[in-house]
């Protein structure tokens, strides 16, 4: 009996340890990055680092502004491209499509979400970049195709599964009675969607967009393969840009040798983590509330 009780306590403890570890991991990562970023924060003010455009690691100048602009613009561009399409697609799949189609849509969404980002990048190089270059040239813009627009298009394709699947889930969580009551009044399907379903799930749809935004914001490999990686503030979508994650990934070889360089990259990662983590926080708080409501 005693042995069995001991085993019970033991498994209890190992589970608690695992859960605590999983729980603390996010904070551990953030603290580790903050600790490593201290040298650069001690040498320059955070405000200066964030607003300066001068990036010359060898001279000790680390201005993050172009990278922050690059990340934000690429992400916003992808949202502009993806959100309307994804919401429409989700509305169709959740509201109009027959059940069987909806179920097979899940497979397509899973497959799209499962394709590794390096393959999206490769697809971007071979398909998106040449098309963007042709469009740019047709519009009279000199460009190489490795531009903000290419990055935005690739990101839009990559965030689509996230936005569509979360939106679908939120729309389906609206009780059937609400929908049927409206339809029973004799209004059209779209009117029921607009006035009942979407009104109920506004917050959830918003959180789907926020999750997509966070996904795009932190995406590294695919973007850096197509966006050009030039540390200048882009003046149009046909200019190259240089997002933060690409900055980190491109410099893994050099950061051991140049003083303060690795510290600067840790700060870049910390900024990235705080932004993405913050967005996730917001999205999950909203989703959690919705789950509790029904």
């Amino acid at each position: 009996m005693k042995r069995r009780m001991a085993k019970d306590t033991l498994t209890g403890w190992s589970m608690k340890a695992a859960v605590l570890f999983a729980n603390l991991l996010v904070f551990l990562v953030a603290l580790g990055l903050l600790y490593k970023a201290r040298p650069i924060l001690a040498s320059k003010s955070l405000g200066h680092l964030l607003t300066s455009s001068s990036w010359h690691p060898l001279k000790g100048e680390f201005g993050f502004y172009p990278f922050i602009v690059g990340t934000v613009e690429a992400t916003l561009l992808s949202m502009v491209l993806a959100v309307p399409m994804c919401l429409l697609a989700a509305i169709y799949l959740a509201e109009y499509a027959p059940r069987r189609l909806r179920e097979s849509a899940h497979i397509v969404i899973d497959l799209m979400a499962g394709i590794p980002s390096v393959i999206y990048g490769l697809f971007g190089i071979i398909v998106v970049v040449p098309i963007v270059r042709e469009i740019g040239l047709a519009l009279g813009k000199q460009n190489t195709g490795y531009t903000l627009l290419s990055g935005g298009v690739i990101l839009a394709i990559m965030v689509a599964p996230v936005i569509i699947s979360v939106t679908m889930e939120v729309l389906r969580s609206v009780p059937a009675e609400a929908r049927e009551t409206a339809l029973a009044l004799g209004i059209t399907r779209w009117a029921a969607i607009k006035h009942v379903v979407l009104r109920h799930s506004m917050h959830g749809v918003l959180s789907a967009i926020v999750l997509g935004f966070a996904r795009a914001f932190g995406e590294t490999i695919a973007v850096m393969m197509v966006i050009g990686n030039v540390a200048r503030i882009p003046r149009s979508v046909f200019d190259p840009a240089y997002p933060l994650p690409a900055l980190i990934a491109n410099n893994y070889g050099e950061m051991m040798s140049v003083p303060l360089y690795d510290s600067a990259l840790m700060l870049a990662a910390l900024i990235l983590l705080l932004v993405v983590g913050g967005f996730h926080l917001v999205a999950h708080v909203i989703l959690y509330r919705i789950e509790k409501r029904w």
């Binding site: 589970m15 999983a22 393969m225």
Partner: protein
């Protein structure tokens, strides 16, 4: 509604239906396009040498990715061995002990956030912990970073699957006097077995395509993997390096490797899906 005529509203309804189905089609269109390009370009690169030879120096015809195949397998297996037990234990805790507690909600929340942390940050974190102190890249650092990425995925799916197990099963086992751990291990696990295998498959699929965290940890290598303490060849970083190189031969190999990875990831996903529908029944 002041408007009496139903026709305009019906037209709008039809318009939305057509537009939205069109939007859904675009998604399938892109998936099809990507699959097509990868299969078309990749199948041209795949031959016997591709699977058996080491990479050739730049500009020389031939060469393969045998070392990267082995390396990816090793890294993925070690990551699975490290990540799955911890993730599964955390999932069990959430489902069996912390289902409606405040602490459980907090953990669930944190695990969701952890799932969203960009993988490159995980890579950088492991770099500062396991690579920087010893001053060289290593296979085990790569495995640890993938394990961290895997952990929340496994925890979430385990919890989901265990929640599906009916409470009556647990209660009848407890009523027989079985201790909690035994109930979990012998009753709940058994009932949720296929679901948990599914979760693991999905997590493996998720990490086997990761590139960014491996850049800082396992790096890559043109040689056979000999020791876990050395930089280790792997498919995804190989794809990345070769795709960005100016050599046509290397680019072709990148396509071949992409086809292999994509086929593996898609197969795992489909397998998991089959397992899932089996588990739900």
């Amino acid at each position: 509604m002041i408007e009496r005529n139903a026709a305009p509203r019906k037209i709008v309804d039809l318009l939305v239906k057509v537009l939205s189905s069109f939007a859904a089609l675009i998604g399938i269109f892109f998936l099809g396009w990507i699959l097509l390009v990868v299969v078309q370009k990749g199948s041209a690169a795949i031959n016997w040498e591709f699977f058996t030879a080491l990479p050739a120096p730049p500009g020389i015809e031939g060469g393969g990715v045998a070392n990267a195949l082995v390396g990816t397998l090793i890294i993925t297996i070690i990551a699975t061995v490290l990540g799955v037990p911890i993730g599964a234990l955390a999932g069990v805790y959430l489902s069996e002990f912390g289902r409606s507690t405040r602490f459980g909600a907090l953990v669930r929340f944190n695990i969701n956030v952890l799932m969203g942390v960009p993988s490159i940050i995980v890579g950088l974190f492991v770099y500062t912990m396991l690579v920087k102190p010893v001053q060289h890249f290593s296979g085990y650092a790569g495995a640890v970073s993938l394990a961290i990425i895997m952990l929340p995925v496994v925890a979430r799916t385990t919890e989901d699957m265990l929640t599906l197990v009916p409470n009556a099963l647990r209660e009848s086992a407890l009523a027989l006097g079985a201790p909690r751990w035994k109930v979990t291990l012998n009753v709940v696990f058994r009932a949720a077995k296929s679901g948990m295998i599914t979760g693991t498959l999905l997590a493996v699929a998720r990490i086997s395509g990761e590139t960014a965290p491996l850049l800082f940890t396992a790096l890559n290598s043109p040689f056979w993997p000999e020791s876990l303490a050395q930089p280790m060849a792997n498919l995804t970083v190989t794809i990345f390096n070769y795709a960005m190189s100016p050599f046509a031969v290397w680019q072709q190999i990148a396509w071949g490797a992409s086809l292999i990875i994509m086929a593996a990831v898609l197969a795992l996903n489909l397998l998991a899906r089959v397992g899932m529908s089996g588990g739900r029944k």
